[in-house]
Symmetry: C2
């Protein structure tokens, strides 16, 4: 019985890792849909977001059942509570990837991103995807040190966002209001995906160490 | 001992209600700062967000301690798990109110909102604040029926946001790119505050009934 319980716990963590992989794919494919004005890929990301939502419902219910039946303490309780939060963050990251795809669909057959901003978004999406993948790895291997990598990338994300605002608000912006609004919102979505990945990595640190990383070394959660 | 435990549970709910009130004030004062280009009020909301963050840390730790020491089941477990989530959502709503204040501060002494958009933002902020207040009331009184009110207002919020986009993207928009970007992001912040309030109200329904309201009658959480 105790063995089955451990297996159930590990099963939840394993499915969280799978969910992280699905989110990473959604970010990658959503970005392709955006930058290539690819309606098929956009629809794919939007419809697959439902699978991510379903995984959330299933994982929440399993974590709650374990809490109710096993009354875990210490490390196992920390793990279950952190899982309940990670699953919410992963679902949210999936929504944000779907938001990117929805803007791609809205502007189809045009591309929502003006040419001079392609480099910025390509890099932003790469950083966001890598952060999601790293957060998944931190979780899969309970690798606390690797969480620092997620945090470092979040700083690059902030730089990319600042550079985006500089382009948007410079006198050279000739792409009009609609493109500016799209860029501002898209930038916000990628930034939030990155924030959630960072927050996920911290939760793993919390599972492993019992301390939630805050203060000087980590920006606010 | 059992009595003290009940008191601790009620204390957590009571402090969540207090936190909700603080968030409602942050939304109201942040909006005043925005619409009146009031630097003092903007700074106030930004600095008071730290209090909301501290309440979160404190409440999380108390809820976790109760989970660990009392191994609650059924309704009490549901309540504690829901509390852990509500506290995250309230902290996030506080952040979003602070984001509004930061845009007010960034544009000071100018007003970030162009004149023709004042009515839209005044109403958006009213709806958001009322949703937060109602969510607090739903929580304080465990009033499941009142949760419907929160949901109805969320529909008005969606309408306001759509009307905002119509203004932004119409040929009559003469306020330039910077104002458009501000309006798009501000609208997003109010919309997210409303989403979190709606989600909070659902969590109360879950505490009371054991069923999380989804499907036809409620839009996705």
């Amino acid at each position: 019985m105790r063995h089955t319980y451990r297996e159930q716990l590990e099963g939840i963590l394993g499915d969280l890792v799978t969910m992280t992989q699905k989110v990473a794919v959604a970010v990658r494919v959503g970005t392709k849909a955006l930058l290539e004005a690819d309606l098929h890929r956009a629809e794919l990301v939007i419809s697959q977001d439902e699978e991510i939502d379903e995984m959330r419902t299933d994982l929440e219910s399993r974590a709650f059942q374990l809490l109710a039946r096993q009354s875990p303490v210490a490390g196992e309780l920390r793990m279950l509570v952190a899982s309940l939060r990670m699953v919410t963050e992963l679902e949210r990251m999936g929504d944000l990837a779907a938001h990117v795809a929805k803007i791609a669909r809205l502007r189809y057959p045009e591309c929502a991103v003006p040419d001079p901003m392609r480099g910025n978004f390509t890099r932003m999406a790469e950083v966001a995807e890598k952060m999601v993948v790293s957060a998944g790895r931190v979780l899969a291997d309970r690798d606390v040190a690797a969480a620092q990598d997620v945090q470092d990338r979040d700083e690059e994300m902030d730089d990319l966002r600042r550079s985006q605002f500089r382009s948007l608000l410079s006198d050279d912006w000739t792409h009009g209001v609609e493109a500016a609004v799209d860029v501002a919102l898209l930038g916000r979505y990628y930034e939030r995906i990155a924030d959630h990945a960072d927050s996920m990595a911290r939760r793993v640190v919390y599972i492993v160490t019992g301390e939630f990383p805050e203060d000087e070394t980590w920006p606010e959660p």
